[in-house]
Each structure stands twice: as structure tokens, then as C-alpha cells.
Amino acid sequence: MSEQYLRETPFHDRIAAVASAQSWERWQGHITAVTLGGMDREYFAIRNSASVYDVSPLIKYRITGADAARFVDRLITRDVARCAIGQAYYTPWCDDDGKVIEDGTLFRLGKADFLLNAALHNLHWLRDTAYGFDVTIEDVSAEIAGLSVQGPLAQTVLIAMGIGGLERLAHMRLAETRLDDRPMRVSRTGFTGDLGYELWIRPGDASWLWDRLMAAGALYNVLPIGSAALNHARIEAGFILVNVDFISATYALRPSQKRSPYELGLGWAVNLKKDGYFIGKRALLAERKAATPRRALVGLEIDGRKPAVDAFIYAGKREVGRTTSAIWSPTLKKNIAIASIAGDQALPGTELGIEIWHPKELKIERSMVGCRVVHRPFYDPPRKKA
């Protein structure tokens, strides 16, 4: 075997066998698919049938020990006391200045047993935050493989596959189960804003799970997808991505580029009243005293059809921001974007101008069109939580 520069995920053999597009990228040291056979089909599988996406490269930290709950409460901005065992919590975590280091999903597996799912490496920060606390923090990324099954038929397919109890599994809840006598954790979570589940298994069971899922899903147009289709879905769902829609406080070179949860529209996930101190609380309290946040991360609906990638936004002649993610949404039939803009322009309904540069037959054309601030998510079907 030739020297390998990128690691293969536990599902790689199965994915590579059907990845006729041969379009790969790197994700946390792994080789992963951008698209397997065409992005459009994959996107519509997410919205109309069921999609399968390999999320094994996610970084997972297991947090245990007598002080585990106290420690997690110190780390994140939400109130751990309100997170039940078997619940999943989407939450940001901040640095001393109340600027977001990252956002991720926390699974509460037990009273003093947590799993934190993150896109970036955080072990150094977690261990330093744990100083003086009786906790053990381990990077268990390589011990858990994950497959995300998302779309209106996701539940139907998984039930057909033989996973019991899914009807009762509420949005953002977890279940520990077994299938073919193999352990499996099912979480009703995902990055598509649609009905969906994530299946977490031992890496050695990856091929087994893939084959079982594909067999059960054959009748339902279950389609493996790559990151490009997922990215479309997550923008429609209004989910933000670290180092795309905001720069992690750990990586930002200029302090002005760091963002607080309030500046990212995550104020709802900050509990300033919870017991005890959490990292960044003093700074966030001070920020709360000031009237409007300096910056805001908002949704935009844009006139015309040209995706407003890296586009500047204007209020009259004043430049007030920039888009961070932008697509034409096939489901909504709308031109949408996530944008970082000045705090005083963030009220939904605010009409702004946007300058879009787009290629047209070897020329770059500029179009100046209108746009308006709207609530995120752009797309939020009732079935997501039903």
C-alpha cells in the first residue's frame, strides 16, 4: 500500500465503492467525499427521501468524573442542570472575553458522563478549563464512527432496518440500543434542519451498518451524500459553521474578528442566570449592559438568482457587512445568505443593498440588488421536531 497522507474513515471502503464522481476533500485529517455522484440528486435526497452522510471525522470528547457536570457547566454557556440524561444540547463555548471558541453538540450520557462533539480540536482548552476539577477528558474520536441519516423518510428507513423505539425519540434526544446484538447510540440530531438521526457505533461495525442501511433503504431512495449537498441544506436550516460564518476566538488574528454568542444570534443559548460562573460570563454580562451588539449574524433574502458569495452589504452608501455563506435555495426558490453585519442593521425586515460579483462567460459582472434581513432558519419543516 502506498503511503497515506489522509486517514480513511471506517465507512471509506463502502463510500469509495459508489463514489463515481471521485470528488474528495480533507476533513480533520480524513479523506471525505464532496459529492459521490452528483450534488443535485444528493441535495434532493435530503429534502425528499433520505440521505446518508459519514460524520465519523467529528471530534468527540468524553467527559467523566465526579465534577463532570460542574465542569461542563463551567465550559458552556447553557445550563447543564436543565440537560437531562439522554438529551442533546447545541451550545457555544467562549473564551475569557466571552468570544465564541466553537459551537457543538453535547450529549448527556449520564449524571456525570458527557460526550462533546466538536469540529475543531479543543483538548488543550478543555483540560485547562478543568484545572481544579475532578474530571477526565479523553479524545474518543477514533473510537466512535457516525452515520447521519437525514430526510423525510429517515425515520421510516431506520424503523424498516429494525431500530426500535424511534417513534418515541424526541428531537435532540438520545437512545442507546442494539441491533444484531451490536451496540448503537441513536441521536435525533443533524445538520440539515430536517427530520434526521445520527447513528453512533463502534468503528468495526461500520461496514455492517452501511450494508444493513442500504438494504433497508433500497425501496426508499436512500442516497449517500457528500459535503456539498449537506452545505446547501445546512444554510437553509440556518446552521452556522465555525471558521466559515465566524472565526473561532482561538484562531482569529484580529480581536475585532472574534464574536460573542450575542453577535452570532446565539443569545438564546447563553444563560446568565445559571448557578455558578462559566467562562466568559463577566464579559458577556458587560456586553449585555451595552445596548445593541456590535455585530450580528443574520439571514438575508436577496433579489435575483445570483448566489451572493463573499458579497458586500450596504445601507445606503455605508458598507455594513459581508455574506459568509450564500446559495440559491432549490426548495425555497429563494436566493439566501448568512451574513455578518453591523448590529444596528440587524432587525428583521431591514432593507439593504448587496453587491454581487458573478462570473459570466469569462467575465466578472457586478450586480447591485436589494436584500432584506430575515429570521433564521430559512427552512424549518414541522417534521424536524414532530
Binding site: R70, R74, D95, D96, W125, D128, T129, Y131, G132, F133, G276, Y277, I279, G280, K281, R282, L285
Partner: protein, 532 residues
Amino acid sequence: MSGETHYDAIIVGGGHNGLVCAAYLGTAGLKVLVLEAAAQLGGAAVTREFHPGYRASAVAHLLHLLHPRVIADLKLTQHGLAFAATDLPTTALLPDGDRLTLAADPAASRTALARFSPHDAEALPAFTERFNRLAAALGRFLLKTPPQISAAQWQDRRTLLEFALSLRRLGRRDMRELTRIIGMNAADLLDDNFESDALKGVFALDSVLGGFLGPKSPNSVFNLLYRAAGNVAGRQNGLIQPKGGMGAVTAALASAASAAGVELRTGAPVEWIRIADGRAVGVVLESGREISARHILSSADPRRTFLTLVGPEHLDTGFVRHVRGIHMNGCAAKIHLALDGLPEAWQADPEMTAGRLVVAPSIDFMERAFDDAKYGRVSEAPALEVTVPSLHDSALAPAGGHVLSIVAQFAPYQLRETVAEAARDQIAARVLAALGTVAPDLPDRVRAQEVLTPQDLERQFRLTGGHWHHGEMSLDQVFLLRPVGGFQQYRTPIDGLYLCGAGAHPGGGVSGAPGANAAREVLKDHKLPRAA
């Protein structure tokens, strides 16, 4: 709580800085309580009996930094502060029995030094004059609050401006010289100016006293500047033997504090500081008793204050990281010897013996002593600073007897492969051996000894890392960066909690400056309307 008194300010620790701070706050009309863990006030600045009839200053034994404004403001002279001797000469005791005495009188020093090097005899006065001038420029900031760099406050801007002006006022050549030497190592500076090992050895010792560095370590010159920045009894860089030892200095401070209405309580160790809604609201004693106050001031070192008394759970990760990173590897051991008489050669020269005696014959000797410490060992051949306080104050020893008070470098707190008990035996034996080389009849006159390693200092005086200065006095940990960057103005991340000890600007030494500066900042906040 019925009948419980509420205080304006509680000061954790009754050392010299805690007492200075208390006296200032009391004078300003605040109701102040000082809580000292030990049975005696004074913290590390106390005079203790270590053998029946023999007493010595437990840690620092010479005064050179106590700020004249603190003496004047608190009227310490009226409260009993007296100097047994000022302008003490320093004598280098050399291995061959020779000596070099540097006295306050320049002519005498010049004659003494000429025997070793005519060149140095000529160079020393000019060097000293210029060095003191440069140090004095820094000395103007001992009693000022370091500014914030992002100076939004006009006060900060003014201090920054004053700092720049103070350097500029030195003139172009001196300003350039100060910026050139401030980060230098002492060995290079000394080699540039002098040729005599005996002279350079004395400076080399002063450049590392109390610290974890050698004369060839970066910014050891800064330690020399800091020593020279002080000005007590009208003399810059002068050495003073306080009457009654260091304990008498803190006794005068305690008296001044009492007179200002401060309540002083000993045997009252604070176990932790109560934080409610992000604000320090009181202290909890080891006895379980709780006392509340509007302002809590800690004269304990920053590591102990934040990591033990407050606890990391109330602090941000980055801040805790910085506090854990404060360098505080104490390296000085304190040794007290009870003698039944002085060595004959010393008796013959009472003027010399009454001064400061130094065993540090060369730069290389000092650096080798540090090499051991660098790798976690007690110095094979330690350098010594010796005083005989009983010569100035007969109350310190029985008739005929004498006390030797010795600072020995290096006995590092962070040991590798040596256990603390063995390190104590090693430093004791090596100090006696070193004294034997310069005064052969001395070891036989020792009746009793007390050996305080940094581990002992940590245990007895609650000094983290056994570090006298509550953190190394290096350029990365002074002025804007003391105790850590962003918190140099005595306030801490916790509202209502202040630092008033040596871990805050300007730093270690019996100066009273951190205490005085912290009191000034607390008084500013005291005038603000109370937070709801």
C-alpha cells in the same frame, strides 16, 4: 447574624504590605479588619526566637526599599520605627582570607578596591552614580499604579506619559543606556565595566538575591536596578539594619494601623473568600466563622489568592492559565545560627562585622551555584549574604552570644531527585562549609541552628513556592505584567477583590509600596456608588 460587625475592608494577611494597606485605609476613615493566620503579625517580616534567647528576622533581614513616603504618611517613626544602623558597608569575604569592603564612604571604598584593581577603583564611583540615576528614574514609579495599555482613562494616559517623560528627562544618553541595560544580564554589564572578580561577585549576588536566575541570566540587571530604586533614610541603595529586626518594622506598622482604627486579629487563617454573584463579599475563616466586607484585599501571593482562596471555578480559563504560569520557584534558604561568640577575625574588625558580609567571590562562582538550581539541585557551593543583627541589638542574643542571619542561594523549591528533607540537610551543611572557608573557627561556635528552605517558608508563611517576592521579579512579571497582564491595577477579575501584596506592582522587598498603591485604588472605588 446577630451583632456581626460589617467592615468596609478586610485584609487577608498581616504582613508588611497588608499592614501598610490597612493603615492607609484606616486613616481614610474606613472600617478595616486585618486577618493574620499566624499568632504574630508581620507575615514573613517578623523577628522570631529560634533558640532559647536567640532571635532573628525570619526572612528578610535588611531594609533597603521601605518607601520614605510610607514612613512619612504613616508616621512610622512616631510608632517606633528606628534604625539600628544605616549605610551598612558590604564586605566580600574571599576564600584566601582576603576581604573587600565597600563602604558608604566613596573614598574608603576606593582605597579598598584599589588593592584589587586600580581601574575598578576609578570606575566604580562614576558607575554607581550613573546606575543610581537610572534606577531612580524607575524608582519614581514604585508608588504609582501601572497604567493600562489601552489607556482610555486620563489617569492611565498621564502615567504612561510620565513614564515616557521620566525616561526622556534622563537625557538622550542615559535613556539609551537604561533601555540598553534593563534587559541585560548582570555578568555582561559587570564585565564591561570592571575587572575585579571580588567586586563583580558582590554585584552578581545582588543581581540574583531571592530569585531563580544567575548573573548570566537575562534581565538580572533589572534586579540590580530594582534594588537601587529604593531610597530609605535619604540614601539610595543604602542598607539598613532595623532596630529590633524586621519584626520591629511590622510592629511599627501594626501600631500605625491600630492608631488609624484598624482591627488586627491574629491566629485567624482565612480558608476561602466568599464570592456571590461574581463579587467578593466576605471571607470564611478556618474556624468556619464568616465575616463580610465591601472590599476584600489579599496580601497573599496571587497563586494562593486566586487558586486557593478564590478557586478556579470563579475565574476564566485564560486567567487561571496566566496565574498558574507565574514563575515562583523560590531559591533562597534562610539560615539562623546561634553562636557563643564571633570568629576571632570578625571580632577584630567590628565595623566590618556590623555590616553585610558576602560570600560570592566571582561571577562564575555565582553562576555555578545557579547551575545546580537550574537542574533542581541545592548549590554545591552556595553564595551567602550574612548579617550579625545581635551586634546592633543586644536584645537578639544572650550576653556574649551572637546571631548570624544568612540568606543562602540556591536551594530551589522545585527539586529533582532530591527530597525536601535531604535538601535541608544539604543546604545547612554546605552553608557551614562555606562559612568555614572564610572563617575557619566559626563552625565550632555554633550552638544551634534554624534552617528554612523554600519548602519551609511555604509551609510557615504560606508563600507559594517559597518565593519571597510572591513571584519572580523578571521583566515578564513586573510593572504592566504584575501579577498578570491586564490586572496590574490591584483590581482582579472578581469585583470587590484586590491584591495588595508583593505579587502586585512594584513587587517584593519590604517596601510597603504594593500595600500603599492598593489602598489608593480601593479608596477610588470606595467613593463610587455601591453596586446594587
